[in-house]
Amino acid sequence: MDRIARINMGAAGGPTVTFEEVGEYAGLGGRALTSLLIAREVHPLCHPLGNENKLVIAPGMLSGTTGSMTGRLSVGCKSPLTGTIKESNAGGQAAQVMARIGYAAVILEGKPEGDDLYKIIINKDGIKIEVDNSLKLMDNYPLVEKLRQEYGDKVAYITIGSGGERQLLAASIACTDPELRPTRHCGRGGVGAVMGSKRVKAIILDDAGMKMRAPKDPEKFRDANRKFVEGLRKHPVTGEGLPAYGTNVLTNVLNEAGGYPTYNFKQGQFAGAAKLSGEAQAELEIKRGGSATHGCHRGCVIQCSGIYNDKDGHYITKQPEYETVWSHGGNCGIDDLDTVARLDFMDDNIGLDTIEMGVTIGVAMDAGLIPFGDREGAIRLLDEVGKGTPLGRVLGCGAEITGKVFGVEKVPVVKGQAMPAYDPRPIQGIGVTYATTTQGADHTAGYAIATNILKVGGDVDPLKTEGQVELSRNLQIATAAIDSTGMCLFIAFAIMDQPETFQALLDMLGAFYGITMTGDDVVALGKKVLSAERDFNARAGFTKAHDRLPRFFYTEPIAPHNQVFSVPDEEMDQLFNW
C-alpha cells in the first residue's frame, strides 16, 4: 500500500493513469487520507459534480492484512448533497482487495466530455480503463451479475447503480460482500453522484497473485490481533448482541427511551416498533432459511449482518440495518419488515442511501404525496427514483430538496443531509453532533469511542446533564481517528469497556508499521483530520450559522419526554476550540 493512483477521467484523448509514491500520506488510511487530500487538493468552492472535484477511494491503515475487522473502505470528495467535505465508508471486500493490490488510494479526477461510460480494472499488472456503454443505466444487482460473467467471482466490485449515473444527490457507491452481492454502501452525502459525474460505472479489483500485507513485526501483530479478537468475542455487544440481532437490536431500546423519531420526527415512540425490532427480524430470518449472523467482509468476527428471505425462502436483501428499518419503517409509520426489506433491496439496487431515502419518503408523506403507513405507496415512490421520472429525480435528491419542492416546513436535515434514527431532543448530546459535525447530520461522526480510556478532553461527570458539547467534541475526535484506521466502528464497545482490547488495537497498528502508538497519537490524528475538514468547510462558506439544527427542534417538544433541543448556540460554537 505504498502507491497512489490518479486517474484523470477528463484527460484529452481519454482517461489517463499516473502513479506516485504515497509520500507524505504514508501511514495514513481511510478518512485521514481522504480528508487531508481533499482539503489540500480540491477547491472548496468547486461544483461537486464538476471536473474540479475529486473522488478519493482509500482502504484503512490495516486493510489487506490478516487483522480482524479491518475491511472499511473510505470514499472522500466534496459532497453534492451537503456542499461540505465528505467521507463515507462501507464494509465489503473492496478495501481488503485494493490494499493487497498495493494502493493507499485511487483518485478519480476530472470529468470526461461526452456520454461514454467507463469501467476501471485494477490488478497487479496495473490499471486499465475501458469504455463499456453496455452498462448504461444498469442497477447494481444486474450490473454485478453482468460483470461477474466477465471478471469472475474472485474479485471485488465497486459500482454505482442508475442513481449514481443520474447524479442524484442521495446516490451511494456499492461494494460487494463476500458473496459478491452489492450490499455494502458508502451511502451518505451523494458520493455515488460524484462517481457518476466522472462517468465511472464500475471498478473491478483483482488481487490475484498478491499476498496479504506483511507487518513489520509479524509475531507481535499476530499476538495483538489474537488479543483483539478475544476482546471482541467476550464483550456482550460484539460477542452476543450484534451477532444475534444485528444493529436493529436498537429498535426496542430507542423506542422505549422515547428517542425513536416517528412520522417524520413528530413522535418519539412508535406503536409498531416491536414488529420492526431486531429480535423479530432475527426470528423471521432464521425461520425463513436466511441468517441472522453474517459478516460483510472476510475477517469479520462480529458478524452483525444477515440474510433476509421472503416467505418462500428466496433472497430479498441483506439484513436491513437499524437506521434503514427506522427510516423506511417507523419514520414512515410502516410496521412491516417485508416492506422494509423490499425498500432496502431497491435502495441497494438503484444505489441510494437508505437513511436519506427513508427520511425523504417521510417528508413526502408529510407533504401529502402518500399517507403515513402506506407500504405500497412507499415502494411506488422509490420505484419512481429507479425509473428516473421527474418526481423520482426530486426524491432522489434527498429530504431537503423534496421538502423545498413540496413546501414542507419541518425537514430533519443538517447541512442538507437527513438526520438518522435518533431524535436530538431527548438525546441532546447526539443533537450537538448532528449540528456541528463536518459531514452534515451523521450519527457515526461522534460514535461511542473510547473517550474514557483516551481521556480526550478530560472526564465529563455522568451525573450532570451539562457537558453535551464536551462529550460530543471528544467523541468526534476519537471517531475521526478510528475512521482513519479502516476498522469497523463496532469495535467501539469492546475498546471502550476493555482497556486491554484498546491496547491490542494500538499494538496491532504499532506492530504493523513498526512504531509505538499511544492514545495521545490517536487523539492527535483525530484532531488533525477534523481540523482539515473544518478548514475546508470554512473555505467553502460554512459558518457557525450552519452548525444548528432545524428550528422546529428548538420549538416543538416531542413526546413522551416533551423536550426541545436546548443546548445553547454559544456552547456549540465552542466545540472545535481545542
Binding site: 456482550p236 437490536v249 431500546v253 422505549e256 474514557n452 465529563v460
Partner: protein, 201 residues
C-alpha cells in the same frame, strides 16, 4: 389492565417454541407484584433473578421510559413499566447503559427517584424484555404466569403458523382441558385478561 374477569390458560410446549412468545414479551406483558419496593428487590427477591445477573446481564433498564442507573434506589410503583435489556450497540445504546460514562448525554431521559409516596401493596407492573434477555428470562416469566389481554392473546394465536400448532397439544383453560383446535379456531374469551402460563418441556 381490566381486572373484572380473568381467564386462566396453561400451555405445555416444546422449548423450541419459546421464540413464538418473543413478540408478547417485547411488546410488554403484565404481572402481579408487590410494589412500593426498590427495583433491585423486585428483580432479585420477587422474580428470583440473581444479583450477579442483574449487575452483569441486565445492563440497560428503563423505568417508565427513563434510563435507570441505580436499581437500589429506584422505586417501583403500581402501574409502572419496566423494560429490561442487555448491552446495546451504538452511541445511544452506550448512552442508555446503567452507570455508563456517556450517561450525561441522556439529559432528561435519566430516571431520578422522587420522594413521592410509594405505597407498599400488591399491584400490577408492565414488563418488557429485549434481546438477549428474551430467551434467558422469558421462560421463567411465562412459567410463573403473565397477564395479557384477551385481544392480544387472540391475535397471538391467530398469527401462529403450522409449526406451532403441530407442536401444541392444547392446554388447560379454567381447569378444563382444551384442544389445540379450539384455541386455534375461536377466541375463548372476548374481554378482560388472561393469565397465561407456559411450561416448556
Amino acid at each position: 389492565m381490566n381486572a373484572t374477569r380473568q381467564t386462566r390458560l396453561t400451555l405445555t410446549l416444546p422449548s423450541s417454541l419459546i421464540g413464538d412468545f418473543f413478540p408478547i414479551l417485547q411488546q410488554g406483558f403484565f404481572v402481579t407484584a408487590h410494589v412500593g419496593c426498590t427495583l433491585q428487590r423486585l428483580l432479585c427477591r420477587q422474580w428470583d433473578i440473581s444479583p450477579d445477573y442483574v449487575a452483569t446481564r441486565i445492563t440497560t433498564i428503563f423505568l417508565n421510559a427513563k434510563a435507570t442507573d441505580n436499581v437500589e434506589t429506584a422505586v417501583v410503583r403500581d402501574g409502572a413499566t419496566i423494560a429490561l435489556s442487555g448491552a446495546m450497540p451504538g452511541l445511544v445504546g452506550a448512552t442508555m447503559r446503567r452507570g455508563g460514562h456517556l450517561a450525561a448525554m441522556r439529559g432528561a431521559m435519566t430516571y431520578h427517584e422522587t420522594p413521592a409516596d410509594a405505597v407498599d401493596r400488591i399491584g400490577t407492573v408492565r414488563v418488557k424484555l429485549f434481546n438477549i434477555l428474551l430467551p434467558e428470562l422469558g421462560p421463567a416469566f411465562l412459567g410463573r404466569g403473565i397477564l395479557v389481554s384477551c385481544d392480544d392473546l387472540a391475535s397471538f394465536f391467530r398469527e401462529r403458523d403450522e409449526s406451532f400448532w403441530k407442536s401444541c397439544d392444547g392446554g388447560i383453560l379454567d381447569n378444563m382441558q382444551v384442544s389445540a383446535g379450539r384455541l386455534r379456531a375461536e377466541p375463548f374469551c372476548r374481554e378482560g385478561t388472561v393469565r397465561l402460563t407456559v411450561n416448556f418441556r
